[in-house]
Amino acid sequence: MNTIFYIAALVALVSTALAISGRNAIHALLFLIVSLLSISVIFFILGAPFIAALEVIVYAGAIMVLFIFVIMMLNVGLEKEMENKWLRPGMWILPSILAFILLIDFLSMLRSMNYREIRGQIILPKQVGISLFTTYLLGVEISAMLLLAGIVGAYHLGRQKKKVIHRFLEKIEETHAEAPDTNL
């Protein structure tokens, strides 16, 4: 179990690093997917198959597809110049130092902890479901409201102004729009 864990962790680290450093957006995303998959393996080893599956279904399978979808639509490739501008040392040195400090902090923290064996206690979907619908029932319901806010917001912000389909009608509409709106 431990060996697989370390392999998966290594894959996750390497692919994440590649995802960050990759210049091609799609390749970077692919590495990110690999990273997510390896994390899913780690979840599985830790005894959370349900979360492992969700990680694949939701993150790797759905969210990343959307990312790729968007990148395809935007036809990325113009970013090089911008990236060069953003990657001037002035921009990344401070955050990197901070991140490095954080890393050292983490390492020292992990050292300070008692070494704990990876426990293979398996938690099945059923248990997850039961706890979600008893102890955390309200939490689930709140999540629903949270999503509602997201949906309503996405609807409002994503809505396009009403367009008249026919181009002749559109012109007429434009001339109308210039006149002051008396209804208000």
């Binding site: 091609n24 799609i26 390749h27 692919l30 997917i33 198959p49 349900f50 492992a52 599956a53 969700l54 694949v56 279904i57 790797a60 399978g61 759905a62 597809v65 959307l66 790729i68 979808f69 395809m72 639509m73 099945l124 979907p125 059923k126």
Partner: protein
Amino acid sequence: MTYLLIIAGVLLIVLTIAAGLIWVERRLLALWQDRYGPNRVGPFGLLQVLADMIKIFFKEDWVPPFADKPVFVLAPGILIATILLTFAVTPFAPGFNVFDSNIAILFFLGNSSLGVYSVVLGGWASNNKYSLLGAMRASAQMLTYEVFMGLSLMGVVMMADSFNLREIVEAQRHVWFVFPQFIGFVIFLIAGIAETHRLPFDIPEAEGELVAGFHSEYSGMKFGMFFVGEYLGVTLISALITLLFFGGWLGPSFLPPIFWFFLKTGIFICFFILLRASLPRPRYDQLMGIGWKVLLPLALLNILVTGAILIYIK
């Protein structure tokens, strides 16, 4: 050792079926369209499969120079890999499976959601506008249908009280789930067709408008993998329909369980082919509309009603 044998057996069976389907589909289509189909190579044209395979294997392995090479090569592999992986948790008969998983259904859903990448990446890597359009359609379509494909199965899961396919089949000893879960079945069927982008939902490839869509640029064995992958997908969905709604290998005991399983699966495969022969292709927006506005609410309603009734009974 038996473990390896089972793996080899499953692979053999599945790949044979997929390859054989090339012939079966053409023959059946011909039958329904009142013509002959392939009937020259061997008896009933049975060796047609072999001929096609030889042709495909020996074609030049050509990658267009404008393509994103690594992704282009990777894409068809993803399709085959994800579907074959799903067969690992699919029991053909009691004891005849690679891995008796507790989360088999989730595993299937996860893999099918990863399967999207083959189409999307293949289309994108081809660097061809038709392929790209196909890829975009595929990503939207598969993402949409995946959502309630998962949801449509939840009724079954609730009734069987498990994600394990073997236990689900066992739970159908008295009544097949197709009866209590008819809505779930219909939705899963539709979503399954969409997931495998078979006709009538073959919008990502839509030969008429997109010139084969995402795999326009593919040829040789890479095309072959997409091709076989599609049949593998059909087999998989049929197998799952059988397992989830039609009692899997359960059946009168005068024949071995595995026979019943293949019989039922075969019927559904034929049904898939019949659909191809008989239905027109919907428009893209109709497809999305029906998905979000009809099937998703129906799936949710199905869960709600099933849950309520189960709670009432217990």
